[in-house]
Amino acid sequence: MRALPFPARMRAVLFIALLALSGSAHALTPSELDTLIDRIWATHGITPAPTSSDSEFFRRVYLDLAGEPPSVEETVNFLTSNEPNKRAKAIEQLLATREYGDHHGRVWTNLILEGRVLKRRFPRERFDSYLADSFNKNKPFDDLVKELIAVEGSSADNGATFLILSHEGKPEDLTSTSARLFLGTQLRCAQCHDDKFGPWKQEQFWGFAAFFARVETRPEKSPLAKRPESFLVTDRPRGEAIIPEDGATPSFKDLPPEERRKARMALEREMRTHPVRPAFLGQPVDLHPRDHRRKALAERIVRAPDNLFARTQVNRVWAEMFGAGLIEPLDDLYGKTAGDWEPVLQALASHFIESGHRMKSLYALIANTKAYQLTSEGQTESNSLREYFARARLRPLSPEALFQTILKTTNVESTASATRKARLEQEKQRYLERFVFVFGNDEGEKSTAFEGTIPQALMMMNDPLIERGLAPLGGTTLHRILESSQSVSERIRFLYLGALSREPSVAEMKDAQRFLVEASPEPIGDARAIRPRDRLARMREAEAYQDLLWSLMNSAEFLYNH
């Protein structure tokens, strides 16, 4: 896995040559991508699973692109539409929703944070909205990355300061994160010593860090303010990277004052005598003394050799849509090929570059393939179809998507009182943090099969948020259907469409009807004709519907994207 196997490299080269001959200077179409995938399946004698049903496809693509499930209305419209190209249309529409940017903004915030907890005074909303805007405007992804790395300015008005500030401007942390997220390269092993398992020497790590050696973050506050209101990101005119003894750039704040001065002087001496020159992935870079180092780095990252930048991004997007990358782990693909899947990875990367690094174009390309639109049904453990992406995988909803899904399914937000509404965003943020804490897992080391945890199940079964969402009042989904004059079967249908984005089967409809009858033995006629003796019966009825929705929301079908 480590070194590029020779035959694979040969194949890759051959493939590029073939592409060049066939005149590949146009964007890839979904069917061309499918042809490449079909070829791999054919080589291995694999017959892919059948195409997904409309409802399966619609829920999946909605969750993947917008980070939440479709509404009942949208689902019904989609399912009943007779348009021949309705799937392609739905993809196009989803990519134009605000939710597309919001979702990917949140995803990238969490990728950059990598479990770091932001200090309270960091304006996370500003970072989120900066990233969301960038995705929604379909900003070229290379430009976005360049902004994040080379940013100069204040967090007060520039969300691109997020990367630097969340890493407290530490060169070694910025090195690890940018190599990992933008180049799919694990440099961190070499921070403290030469990497025994990878190609990197400690000198090369600090050569990369040298690009960040001058970064400075400064709190900004008005004279009367107690705490800083924002932070400024800038570069000092001087400053070099050195290889520190214990692997981390020394922090002086923990030292006693008299030692602090000594240590600082020692550091400056070291910078003069043993500076590590900037080097990009091991290649020394000659810079003019007045060059802006981070700008120089950003340019090199987006133009890294072997399409490393594009490969990293398309591999991550593929993993997002298919449940696993073409190369795993996602942040360690330097010097690796995707084996059988190399042609697909190459083609995706070329497409991404030719499209001007437009994420929407990449998502549209993948979502429109037959491969993405296969069914997930019929999965068994020892199935090679899974391995070859020849059947859609079950993927646990990300914490962000699960949270959004609960909000949208229950419409719990409508229960917030006026005073509460003002704090709703804050409350949502807190809840989202809880979800990320309870449902999050480390991407890099994701175990092959997701296993839920006790706190996760407890949260889904018993948390007040769920119960509040099930309350038949204040405009929740349940409130709406109980207030309506719909028949029992119409209500059941509405709940299934809302929670699972599909119609109930005949058997399920019967099951649910029987359940409602058993749970509330006195069916009442017109819901709006309130007589006192009906009150208990109405309460029973409401409880029965709550329990039905509760079971839908605790099902695997709800908790997985499939």
């Binding site: 030292l255 006693p256 049904e377 296993e451 119960e467 359940f515």
Partner: protein
């Protein structure tokens, strides 16, 4: 209600092995709903095997922030670095400890003290990670926390309670051993376990009804997707409902303890956390971590350390006494440590800064020889003069005491072979004895 299902419930309560797979053969709601309907009346103690077969457990008392060795187990009276802290004699020759640990001063014959710990990490995050996992952080591998190693190696897979519980801190997770070994976190021992009880307006009968419906709702999707994910989902829900229903969860309820027992530990979060740790170990949890925060005393070290010792001393003393009284001392290893120590030299703010050499750790129970004082530091506390002991050696020793092989090898997801404790670690012979 079928007899088959009832039998299952009873077998579970008696601790019969019931592998996850088997949950699927019986319906989720059937198994769980009925269990719920007739909550087992077995007292928690029924799950405790008699003495000879009592499995080993560990309680880790984590002193977050890096406790000052000079204000705890290794004061330096007479040195310029001493500060105002006075000392107390202990029954162990040559061992003086801080005056703020009066109860523990009388217990030093029952524990082993290490005064020469060294670490290679001097910043909190990295040092804490190293202290918990035995490895410095690496981006490509998530190393398991000590509690996860114990859960994986000697945890009871059929237990109703999670085998690794962390009180007052999230600790670290299962890493490459898997999320199932990550800790069950109790953010505050004085509060109820989050979401353990049914929401308001939902009684047991209604909950059983919900589960029955869940079972029916799952049917179609499960039939169409007969994969491992579905089994995990069922398994997790089954385990969780079993957890909610388990008589052992009463261990989380400290109000079952007498006033005097609770007071003995001190009515602090940490004190009550230690009491909860004892109750959990008694119920079969194999690893409990309890954190005491606030040891990062760059300023005002002496008042702050005194206050923290005031929380620590009664809690640790009561914990040891309790474990002895309940015949748990021989099977329970108690470990006291933080991520590093503090500079002997006092800084301009009456504080002490981070110090990686010559700090203290304490071990007791589980056959650890009492009255042992290992390692020495110089008169001023600046140098380790005898037996420097690295974290990996301490963790190696801890695992061996729990009958776990520290050299057990695992493959990470990237197929890298990794031993539980870093290679080259050696046990501390004075503590392991001939073991």
């Amino acid at each position: 209600m079928t007899d088959l299902i009832r039998t299952n419930c009873e077998e579970q309560a008696r601790g019969f092995p019931l592998v996850r797979r088997e949950f699927l053969r019986s319906s989720l709601a059937g198994l769980l709903g009925l269990c719920l309907g007739e909550r087992s009346t077995l007292p928690a103690s029924a799950a405790i095997p008699s003495k000879p077969s009592r499995p080993k457990s560990c309680i880790l008392l984590w002193m977050d922030g890096g406790p000052s060795q000079l204000e705890t187990w290794n004061p330096k009276p007479g040195s310029a670095n001493a500060g105002p802290t006075k000392t107390l004699k202990t029954p162990v020759e040559g061992v003086l400890i801080s005056e703020h640990l009066p109860r523990m001063a009388e217990r030093m014959e029952e524990v082993a003290l290490i005064r020469s710990m060294v670490t290679r990490e001097g910043s909190h995050d990295r040092a804490k990670y190293l202290g918990h996992t035995g490895y410095s952080p690496q981006p490509t591998i998530q190393f398991p926390s000590l509690g996860a190693m114990v859960s994986e190696e000697i945890g009871d897979r059929e237990a109703n309670l999670p085998q690794f519980v962390s009180i007052l801190s999230p600790s670290y997770g299962g890493g490459f051993l898997g999320a199932e070994h990550s800790p069950f976190v109790v953010p505050n021992p004085l509060r109820k376990v989050e979401n353990l009880t049914l929401p308001r307006g939902v009684d047991r009968e209604r909950f059983a009804r919900r589960l029955r419906m869940l079972d029916r709702v799952e049917r179609r999707f499960a039939a169409d997707h007969p994969g491992v994910e579905i089994r995990n989902h069922h398994g997790n829900y089954a385990q969780t409902v079993r957890f909610m229903n388990a008589p052992e969860t009463s261990a989380f309820d400290l109000s079952a303890e007498s006033e005097s027992a609770r007071n003995a530990y001190g009515m602090t979060e940490f004190g009550q956390g230690c009491l909860l740790a004892r109750r959990l170990v008694e119920t079969g949890v194999r690893f409990v971590e309890v954190s005491l925060r606030g040891w990062d005393t760059h300023q005002d070290n002496f008042t702050r350390a005194q206050k923290l010792c005031g929380e620590l001393d009664p809690a640790l003393d009561a914990l040891i006494a309790d474990l002895m009284e309940r015949d748990l001392w021989d099977s329970t290893l108690v470990v006291w440590m933080g991520e590093f120590g503090r500079t002997p030299k006092i800084n301009g703010n009456e504080g002490r800064d981070h110090f990686t050499r010559g700090w203290c750790a304490l071990l007791g129970g589980c056959g650890v020889p009492g009255g042992l004082a290992l390692g020495r530091t110089s008169e001023d506390g600046e140098q380790v003069t005898d037996r420097p002991i690295a974290i990996k050696d301490l963790l190696h020793t801890v695992l061996r005491l729990l009958d776990i092989d520290p050299a057990a090898e695992f493959l990470t997801p990237a197929k890298r072979p990794i031993t539980l404790v870093e290679k080259g670690a050696v046990g501390i012979p004075e503590i392991l004895g001939s073991a």
